[in-house]
């Protein structure tokens, strides 16, 4: 380790490690320098200048996110002139920003608003030209609103560096700069995978999910509809944050109670269909292994990932499991098995999904997923939308009496719960596949090698002397890297799990916005959300999907067996190449 150097911050002496920026050093010493375009997981842009500090001897104020510390450096973070300069910068950003905070979807959750407030900006001193643009409403999932954009570039970097989709760019220049897809294509026609990470990192409302809350409130009041809802594992692990509590509290029971109070007649759990997915996907995998089918098999639960694959890896479509995502399986069963069970016309059922994901809005509208001409899921709302609805309806989520989900699509095993975390689908699949294949019970069911937030994880399982090599990737960038390996070395793995978002569904594009004093996709927060699901798994008596009694009952009454004709009709689908000409992932 290099020797520590001495710096002075606001006239106090500190020993710090060399080779870091002023901001990094200051963070560790407890000085939070205001910032906007900076994000620890993204490259340094230095665009917003909000993080300027005074360095004695330097000609101008320097951007602390980009400026390295040096021995003897005298830094001031809070002098009167500096405060004024910083404030001017924010005021100039605000001058070209629609001041419609009280009718903005990010009101109360906006970084720019918080920053302005912390600078003490209480009046507008600049009156300049204002940019005027239309909203891009073309996508099923992600709305782009260039008028709200302050050009920090976090979305562009997220899309290209972490997700490696490279859909967004800052086009044109100066006052006319706009964040847009190539050729100013509408989002709905672009290579956008709808993952929603641009929404997660946007400090304002320049990117938003397509909001269905008003539509849903209206339908919840329709007495002719049977209102059915399902919710994803990761929603329960994160929704508390939208109500101001620390990450990591499992709100399952409270959420179920709140959904009933909102007016849903049946509250089901997507974890049920996660178990079902394991039955189908696990069987599909074993069939491929035993009959020399296409390997490695790749999971298909993540809808952003599926679009990414169809666009950039069409040569690997045969490797993807034909299983629908748990949400779509649940939707299909809601309108068939469940409708028959309660003896109603499926057209009278309103099937709603509360998801941690924005891409599920896109998935729900996919034509390939229609069953008997009907959508399995009619409305998808994100964790953010459902938490807003709960607040708006005056339901006190934090103090509500927890309730249990309904049958027959609500019971779940611990394996279903961990579906929300990177590595979880693989872990759940192995728990079941091992037993189906060997006929023995897997003793050590917690697979540490594929847990955690490492970008690409590998593991091995011994199936009665047959070595099965598995790999797990989360975030589309890591997924692309892993698939580049598969292209070069197709024999390397047998089974691959991919989740499109950092951390898996727990870091989904529809999760609650980062609260004050935290950052979007903070790894600590992601780990706590993951822990909530691992704890949920550990607390269950049934921890293997095939032991779920409701799943067993479903096979007995309706599906007969995994991969049966009925299963194929309702639970499986197909994918096809979507070739956006000339748009490629890096190293693709």
């Amino acid at each position: 380790m290099a020797e520590q150097i001495t710096i002075y911050i606001n006239n106090k002496e500190y020993k710090v490690d060399p080779g870091q920026t002023i901001m990094q050093a200051a963070d560790k010493l407890g000085f939070h320098i205001p910032r906007l375009c900076y994000h620890p997981k993204l490259s340094i842009e230095g665009a917003c200048r909000v993080c300027i500090v005074e360095v004695e001897g330097a000609r101008n104020y320097v951007a602390s996110c980009a400026y390295p510390v040096a021995n003897g450096m005298k830094i001031h973070t809070n002098s009167q002139e500096l405060r004024q300069a910083r404030r001017d910068i924010i005021e100039l950003i605000l001058d070209n920003h629609p001041l419609d905070c009280h009718v903005c979807e990010r009101d109360g959750n906006c970084e720019l608003q918080r920053l302005a407030s912390s600078m003490g900006i209480r009046a507008r001193h600049f009156q300049g030209e204002r940019k005027v643009y239309d909203k891009d409403l073309s996508s099923e999932a992600v709305i782009r609103d260039p008028e709200k954009c302050i050009l920090c570039g976090r979305c562009v970097r997220m899309c290209s560096e972490i997700q490696q989709v490279h859909n967004l760019t800052q086009a044109h220049r100066g006052f006319d700069t706009v964040v847009m897809p190539a050729y100013d294509m509408p989002m709905g026609e672009s290579v956008c995978t709808a993952c929603g990470q641009c929404i997660n990192v946007c400090p304002t409302a320049a990117f938003l999910e397509k909001n269905y809350t008003q539509d849903l409130f209206q339908k919840l009041n329709d007495p002719n509809l049977i209102k059915v809802v399902q919710f994803a594992p990761s929603v329960r692990a994160a929704i508390g944050e939208a109500f101001g509590i620390e990450p990591g509290r499992n709100m399952e029971g409270e959420l179920i109670a709140a959904l009933r109070k909102l007016g849903f007649n049946y509250v089901f759990d997507t974890q049920f269909s996660a178990d079902l997915t394991i039955m189908e996907e696990g069987s599909e995998f074993l069939e491929r292994v035993q009959n020399n089918g296409k390997l490695p098999m790749i999971t298909s639960c993540s809808s952003a990932w599926m679009k990414c694959l169809e666009q950039f890896y069409p040569d690997l479509i045969e490797n993807v499991s034909t299983c629908k995502s748990p949400m779509s399986m649940q939707g299909a069963l809601t309108k068939s098995y469940f409708a028959q069970k309660i003896g109603v016309d499926p057209k009278k059922i309103l099937s709603v999904a509360a998801m941690c994901c924005t891409a599920k809005k896109y998935e729900a509208a996919r034509e390939e997923l229609l069953v008997d001409g009907m959508r399995g899921v009619d409305i998808v709302v994100t964790t953010r939308e459902i938490s807003w609805m709960i607040k708006s309806a005056g339901i006190d989520l934090l103090h509500i009496q927890p309730e249990e989900p309904d049958h027959p699509l609500g019971e779940s095993s611990g394996a279903g719960a961990i579906f929300g975390v990177t590595g979880g689908v693989m872990e759940a699949a192995i728990r079941t596949a091992y037993e189906l294949y060997t006929g023995q019970t897997l003793i050590d069911i917690e697979l540490e090698s594929i847990r955690g937030l490492k970008g690409i994880k590998e593991g091995k399982i011994d199936l009665d002397g047959k070595e099965i090599r598995v790999a797990v990737a989360h975030g589309l960038g890591n997924a692309c890297k892993l698939l580049d390996t598969v292209r070069k070395d197709p024999e390397r793995y047998h089974f691959i799990e991919i989740m499109g978002c950092p951390g898996g569904c727990i870091g989904g594009g529809g999760q609650p916005y980062a609260q004050a004093n935290s950052i979007p996709l903070d790894e600590g927060a992601l780990m706590k959300r993951a822990q909530a699901l691992y704890d949920l798994d550990r607390g269950k008596t049934i921890r293997r999907s095939h032991d779920n009694p409701d799943v067993q009952k479903l096979y007995k009454e309706f599906l007969h067996s995994p991969l049966s004709k009925v299963s194929h009709k309702y639970l499986h689908t197909h994918y096809k190449a979507k070739l956006p000409k000339g748009i490629i992932p890096k190293n693709g």
């Binding site: 290209s160 490279h166 859909n167 967004l168 760019t169 800052q170 086009a171 044109h172 220049r173 847009m180 897809p181 190539a182 050729y183 100013d184 000409k581 000339g582 748009i583 490629i584 992932p585 890096k586 190293n587 693709g588």
Partner: protein, 170 residues
């Protein structure tokens, strides 16, 4: 594809093949885009797609570069480029009126091309012919001491020449 089109594409491909040999080949993007404009007169989208594919640079990134520089044309340009000078001398001698006349006559604004692809309109800052201000330049020919009528007459000359050309060919 016509022979001319094939030749253009071959020349571009050869240029890019050279570029990708180099270290940091993505830094040759601007040079490649210059080549595209030299060959096609503007940056056609399908050609930008080809560049993305060959150079392994995401299309969105190419779009960012192409829109940043005014030099690059994003739509086809006309047979003739009309540049109206808005430099100080021309401006005080009534260049704005000349520009308005051209706009009205061609039914386009600055940066656009007429529907018949005959004219593209541009602004210029001083063409070095202040003595005969206000001036405009069509391709590389300067026209000075303009007023509305003279401006329209000049445009009509080009139209007439084009018409005669077309008749000769048919």
């Amino acid at each position: 594809m016509t022979q001319v089109e094939t030749d253009k594409l071959n020349e571009l491909n050869a240029f890019m093949e050279q570029a990708v040999q180099n270290e940091h080949s993505d830094s040759y993007l601007i040079a490649v885009l210059h080549k595209v404009q030299q060959l096609y007169g503007y940056l056609p989208r399908e050609v930008m797609d080809t560049v993305a594919d060959k150079m392994q640079i995401p299309t969105a990134h190419i779009w960012g570069v192409a829109t940043f520089y005014h030099y690059f044309n994003l739509s086809p340009i006309g047979k003739h480029t009309v540049s109206v000078c808005l430099g100080t001398a021309c401006y005080v001698k009534g260049a704005e009126k000349v520009l308005d006349t051209v706009k009205k006559e061609l039914k386009i604004t600055v940066g656009q091309t007429t529907e018949d692809r005959l004219f593209t309109l541009q602004e210029a800052r001083c063409l070095g012919a202040c003595g005969i201000a206000p001036v405009m330049m069509i391709d590389d020919k300067i026209y000075g001491e303009l007023d509305a009528k003279k401006t329209v007459d000049i445009i009509n000359q080009y139209r007439k020449a084009e018409k005669q050309n077309a008749e000769k060919q048919s």
